[in-house]
């Protein structure tokens, strides 16, 4: 099913023309209404009308998370507060949170954009959607909530936490679609197994996961343990929340809602725009937002984008599953390491429970990386030698994948902190 054939299957030439119209309107709007953007144009001696084609956008500077903090809370809003009907904020792990606002029309845009994605993921009016994202300032729950209602699905606004209750709700209310982070989906699977719930007794058929990077192996694991068809969806509050892109049933990349969000891929070091198909940092410009437009927002997410047609019939560009974050990228002994690479290996090791933590420390001048892996009951054996060789095997596989030596520490089950939201996978103890 395709929710909005007109925009999702648009001729790419027409789409570019629509994007250009909307871009010019957005630039004119921020120039007029947001002093921050006006100053940036003025400093370059530019006017919004100097952006004559989509490629000209590269002449404008980037917007970063630091800019958002500096204008906390409402400094980058392009409408007076009386037109703002909703505010969301992302958790500020360092300092102030970043605050975003929505007009009534923005909420409409958001629900429509996300409705396309949940439809692409296979959800219909016959589904019962259990939303296990936390409701609050976080955009995850609301984004999915309004989209599900928009397409006529039944919404169970369970919110996050209390995992046992999540399982009970699923069984009692007959949830057919689960919405949460992939790591929380695994946690729910784990608790369901502890409660003695068999996969065949779970009413779920679909899983829509997002808000953190995950891997193909993790997808297979979730699908096997929850009996769902799992899809990835992507977004962030600064752009709109979830609703930026999502997978269709082909699962060959996430379709970007390009009529609302213009994507660029840049070299994170130089800021240069990269040709199609290159791996780099995603940068988004909003094309329709009223309250909180963003021009060239740096996501810190690493991915690739293709405009090749998809077998599903949609013509929108697709981004690859987010490979990692520029902030998560660990530079260990000069080698770039993404936690997602480590996760791929751990999950590929047969029987390895996906409960792990990466601890980076500096011993003298040398970086030291340790992967702490909880031992799963199915791979525990009485022979100490077997356990040592398991550890050696994991170490070899990690070294082959990363190109650097990694120590593996086998842990008792339950000894690592469990996630209820975004997983804390990396602990960097280096003081640089």
């Amino acid at each position: 099913m395709i929710w909005d054939r007109e925009h999702e299957c648009m001729d790419r030439g027409e789409l570019r023309a629509l994007q250009m119209d909307r871009l010019q309107a957005t630039l004119a709007r921020v120039y007029e209404r947001v002093p921050f953007y006006r100053q940036r144009f003025d400093e370059r001696g530019m006017k919004p009308s100097d952006v004559r084609c989509l490629e000209d956008l590269a002449r404008l500077p980037f917007l970063g998370k630091a800019d958002l903090r500096e204008h906390f809370p409402y400094g980058l809003f392009a409408v007076p507060m009386r037109e703002v009907v909703r505010v969301h904020a992302s958790s500020g792990t360092t300092g102030k949170p970043t605050v975003v606002g929505y007009t009534r029309a923005d909420l409409e845009t958001w629900a429509e954009a996300m409705a396309r994605l949940v439809t692409a993921a296979g959800v219909t009016a016959d589904d019962i959607a259990q939303i296990s994202f936390g409701y609050g300032f976080f955009t995850g729950a609301f984004g999915l909530h309004y989209a599900m209602e928009r397409i006529g699905a039944t919404v169970l606004p369970v919110s996050g936490g209390n995992t046992q209750r999540q399982v009970e709700t699923m069984l009692n209310f007959g949830s057919t679609a689960l919405i949460c982070t992939p790591s929380y989906a695994l946690r729910i699977a784990e608790v369901a197994a502890e409660m003695g719930v068999a996969v065949k007794d779970m009413p779920l058929r679909l899983g829509l996961f997002g808000a953190e990077p995950w891997s193909e192996n993790m997808r297979r694991e979730i699908e096997a343990r929850l009996g769902v068809f799992a899809t990835d969806n992507y977004g962030m509050s600064e752009i709109i929340g979830p609703g930026v892109s999502g997978e269709c049933e082909r699962r060959e990349g996430l379709h970007i809602n390009e009529d609302h969000f213009l994507v660029e891929v840049i070299d994170p070091e130089t800021g240069e725009v990269l040709p199609e198909g290159s791996t780099g940092e995603l940068v988004f410009t909003s094309l329709t937002k009223e309250a909180f437009p963003v021009i060239r927002y740096r996501t810190r997410d690493i991915s690739q984008v293709t405009t090749a047609p998809c077998a599903c019939g949609r013509t929108t560009a697709r981004m690859a599953r987010v490979f990692g974050r520029t902030d998560d990228m660990l530079i260990i002994r000069g080698v770039n390491v993404f936690p997602s690479q480590i996760e791929e290996v751990l999950l590929a090791v047969e029987g390895a429970e996906p409960q792990y933590q990466i601890v980076v420390a500096r011993d003298g001048a040398l970086d030291d990386i340790e992967v702490q892996l909880e031992v799963a009951p199915q791979i525990f054996s009485d022979g100490a030698r077997k356990m040592f060789s398991l550890r050696e095997y994991v170490e070899h596989r990690l070294e082959a994948a990363l190109g650097i030596g990694v120590r593996v520490k086998l842990m008792e089950p339950g000894s690592l902190e469990r996630s209820q939201g975004k997983a804390q996978r990396v602990i960097d103890k280096r003081e640089i």
Binding site: P377, F380, D382, K409, M411
Partner: protein
């Protein structure tokens, strides 16, 4: 003819062994024999107990990774040369011992040796043939 032992996966950090023994105490379990080797990182704590099924349940409920496996318990007189006789019989029968540990028997003047084999049934045949006294311990778990 086989005795059940419990193997518990233990991380090498303060208090883990005490936690195991505390759980067993609270479950009213008596430890008949134990073995714990040098554990640089993690180790395997092996126990023969008065009630294997109850002990296993209590340990798992406390979150420990624990499993049951078979050992052969042989009662030997507490005097020089008695262990040598047992091991020589096994050597003569071409049976390899993976590991072993010992404890005192409840019977005065006797010791118990717990032996782990790859092929326990063959070991039992050899030991029986050599006249060794095999005892069965760890009641409460059949098979």
């Amino acid at each position: 003819m086989l005795t059940k032992q419990i193997s518990v996966f233990i991380e090498n950090r303060a208090g883990r062994l005490a936690h195991v023994t505390g759980v067993l105490r609270d479950a009213g379990i008596n430890i008949r024999a134990l073995s714990m080797g040098d554990a640089p990182d993690f180790g395997i704590f092996r126990l023969v107990v008065s009630d294997t099924a109850t002990a296993l349940r209590a340990l798992r409920e406390s979150g420990f990774l624990a499993e049951v496996s078979d050992v052969v318990a042989v009662e030997i007189p507490d005097r020089p040369g008695s262990l040598a006789e047992v091991l020589e019989a096994l050597a003569a029968g071409q049976v390899n011992v993976e590991y072993m540990y010992t404890s005192l028997s409840e019977e005065h003047g006797k010791a118990l040796v717990f032996l782990r084999f790859e092929d326990a049934n063959r070991a039992v045949d050899v030991l029986t043939g050599a006249g060794a006294r095999i005892v069965t311990m760890g009641g409460g778990l059949m098979g």
